[in-house]
């Protein structure tokens, strides 16, 4: 039973992690909270669903929707953040413009797909189960976990070992110094938005597949949790976000199983509060507010 619950927590945590790393990446690089991240998360799920509905194979639909999500991220930066950046608008104004962008995207999605919850075509998903001892795991859940872990691995590799990763880290550490050293700031920021939004989109599609449910509210449901995760992990820390996400998944699952299902969110947020009291910078945060 404990093993099954831990497995439930891992599957939950994997998608939280994928959502949170994009969220925290933008924070790490730009020092802004992109509250439109959840809207892109939702839009990508709808795009994948529509493509699958048109008969596009699921793998291809997934890939195309990732590209759409990434491009939406770039567009978001161009429209909502870049003009403010040029005017040195600080960190609160972009927060508001990201809320505005989120509301617009919600409105567009409502206009295109309507207000109702949607599902992937029933034949598109595997319902196979795998039994290991007393553990029951859906094959689909395993595939989703594998994709989430792979994407996290790719991000970690890109950040650590590629020229792009070095540029991103340089911009995150000190934008002016990076510019002086010849890093193309705007290009790096655009690519950061592309990667972060594609990851957020991947999370949206995967969670949509996992529960076979895509709705306008799906972004709002995960947004607060994502924010809590990245603060818990240490703002801007990708590793911290991943660990925070799995921690939240585990705490949620275990509190339902062993304490009280009615107080699930209260317990999860209570645990995070305790950790932050003990470590105000978050698990992996180097400073109170910013670390790359």
């Amino acid at each position: 039973m404990l093993i099954q619950q831990l497995a439930n927590g891992v599957f939950l945590g994997a998608v939280y992690a994928l959502f949170a790393i994009g969220y925290t990446l933008i924070f790490g690089v730009l020092d802004i909270l992109n509250l439109a991240h959840a809207a892109i998360f939702m839009l990508a799920a709808f795009v994948a669903l529509s493509l699958a509905g048109l008969g596009v194979p699921l793998v291809l639909a997934f890939a195309l929707a990732l590209v759409v999500a990434g491009l939406l991220g770039v567009l978001l930066d161009r429209v909502a953040f870049a003009p403010l950046r040029r005017r040195n608008a600080g960190t609160l104004v972009p927060l508001i413009s990201s809320i505005g962008a989120a509301i617009i995207m919600q409105g567009v999605a409502r206009g295109i797909w309507g207000p109702d919850e949607r599902r992937f075509p029933s034949n598109a998903l595997s319902t196979a189960e795998i039994h290991i001892g007393s553990l029951t795991v859906g094959a689909l859940d395993l595939v989703i976990l594998a994709i989430a872990l792979a994407l996290m691995g790719v991000l970690s590799y890109v950040l650590r070992s590629t020229a792009l990763g070095r540029s991103i880290r340089a911009v995150a550490a000190d934008r002016v110094a990076a510019a002086l050293l010849g890093v193309d700031i705007e290009r790096t920021i655009a690519l950061t938005f592309f990667i972060a939004s594609a990851l957020g989109g991947a999370a949206g599609i995967l969670i949509g597949l996992q529960y076979n449910s895509v709705s306008l509210e799906m972004g709002a449901r995960i947004e607060l949790k994502g924010l809590a995760i990245i603060i818990l992990g240490g703002m801007g820390s990708v590793t911290g976000a991943v660990i925070g996400a799995f921690l939240l998944g585990a705490v949620e699952t275990l509190s339902v199983a062993y304490i009280s299902s009615s107080y699930r969110d209260a317990i999860a947020f209570g645990v995070m509060f305790l950790i932050l009291v003990l470590r105000p910078t978050g698990l992996f945060g180097k400073r109170a507010l910013r670390a790359a």
């Binding site: 039973m1 439930n8 207000p115 529960y211 799906m218 339902v256 062993y258 299902s261 009615s262 699930r264």
Partner: protein, 375 residues
């Protein structure tokens, strides 16, 4: 100019007399507007859409003379409340001031609890068609419902299941932030207790949740014979699906939220074997139900569900009241209170002194993608 106005006056007279002649009947010339509130969009949209369809069909049938209103003009002012309690309140306020003789709706019990007192305060009679929670009709002396309450259906359902399967233990999973699903919980736990069925676990969830595996894993560990699902349709589908995924072998049952063809459509094979207590059975042949099912299916491309049938039955009840001379709120209230059993698509319907409906219940099982009577 003069010639012209005489001509128009003559034309008007001819027109007026032809209307009066064409309409005929004891109530001719009377115009009655009924305000209808339903959640066509939002999370309860599946229920409200069925209700909308029913009033559309009723409108057609009024025009075609298939529903007799004694020559009166009956219109349903149908409004979508979008599963938004604030919107429901606004609409109720509209209906208390725009000359509506009766209000039908809203869709959810939780909405009714917020909105009905406003109508009651303005002496507007209410006929609810899908509020099955406790404490609906007690809000006012003119609040009626044609929907069987779950308190009436659930005990009969449990007796049947116990007989068929020797159910000894049960677990309940329900939404603790919704009036409708909380009522499910209250009624099922009281009925289970009355039947000496041991409740081995109780788990809750919140509106909009998509992951129920933690709850279901904990419940599965206790190996209950039966899991009771107190949920609206979207959550109910996911609970049934995830319970099967986690290998639960016992039986599943639930309240009114599961009783819609949409549940079968969305749950697919995971819905098979689920038992629901219902106020309506599609295969019923009384009260014009057969023709209702045919016309509804032809118009909307799918058969009516309980919510559509209860809404259509409300139209039949309203028509009977108008034939009985009711044109305003007070007259509707007293007609409903004294109504003899009226044959509707739900079977014979009348109102008890509690203003709850007196009607038959059906215990149904999901089998190969359809509801069939449970034996």
């Amino acid at each position: 100019m003069r010639v012209k106005s005489v001509f128009y006056a003559a034309l008007l007279m001819v027109f007026a007399s032809s209307v009066a002649y064409g309409a005929g009947g004891p109530m001719s010339g009377k115009t009655i507007k009924v305000g209808v509130i339903a959640d066509v969009t939002g999370s309860a949209g599946a229920y409200g859409t069925s209700q909308k369809n029913a009033y559309e069909l009723a409108g057609d049938d009024l025009k075609a003379g298939l529903i007799d209103v004694g020559g009166a003009t009956l219109t349903f002012d149908f409004q979508d409340s979008a599963t938004d309690p604030a919107q429901v309140v606004n609409l109720v306020q509209k209906f208390t001031t725009d000359g509506s003789a009766l209000m039908i709706g809203p869709t959810l019990s939780s909405e009714a609890k917020k909105a009905d007192p406003i109508a009651v305060g303005k002496n507007l009679t209410i006929l609810a068609t899908s509020n099955t929670a406790q404490g609906i009709t007690t809000m006012g002396s003119c609040v009626f419902r044609d929907s069987l309450s779950e308190e009436q259906v659930v005990p009969q359902m449990l007796v049947k299941m116990e007989k068929a399967w020797k159910v000894r233990t049960a677990a309940i999973i329900y939404g603790d932030d919704d009036q409708f699903t909380k009522t499910d919980f209250d009624i099922f736990s009281a009925s289970l207790k009355a039947d000496n069925i041991d409740v081995v676990d109780i788990k809750t969830f919140h509106k909009g949740d998509v992951d129920f595996k933690a709850q279901l894993t904990a419940i599965g560990e206790k190996k209950p014979d039966l899991i009771v699902i107190g949920a609206l349709i979207e959550e109910a589908v996911k609970i049934a699906t995830q319970a099967k995924q986690l290998g639960f072998k016992g039986h599943l049952t639930g309240g009114n939220g599961l009783n819609s063809p949409k549940f079968i459509e969305l749950a697919g094979p995971a819905g098979d074997g689920v038992i629901v207590g219902a106020a309506y059975y599609l295969g019923d042949t009384r009260g014009g139900n057969k023709a209702f099912v045919e016309r509804y299916t032809k118009k909307f491309g799918k058969p009516p569900d309980q919510f559509a049938a209860q809404a259509y039955a409300a139209a039949q009840v309203v028509a009977a009241a108008i034939r009985g001379g009711a044109t305003n709120s007070g007259q509707f209230c007293s007609f409903f209170g004294n109504m003899k059993p009226l044959m509707t698509v739900l079977g014979p319907v009348s109102f008890m002194s509690s203003r709850d409906v007196r009607a038959d219940s059906a215990i149904l099982e999901v089998s190969k993608g359809a509801f069939v009577p449970f034996k």
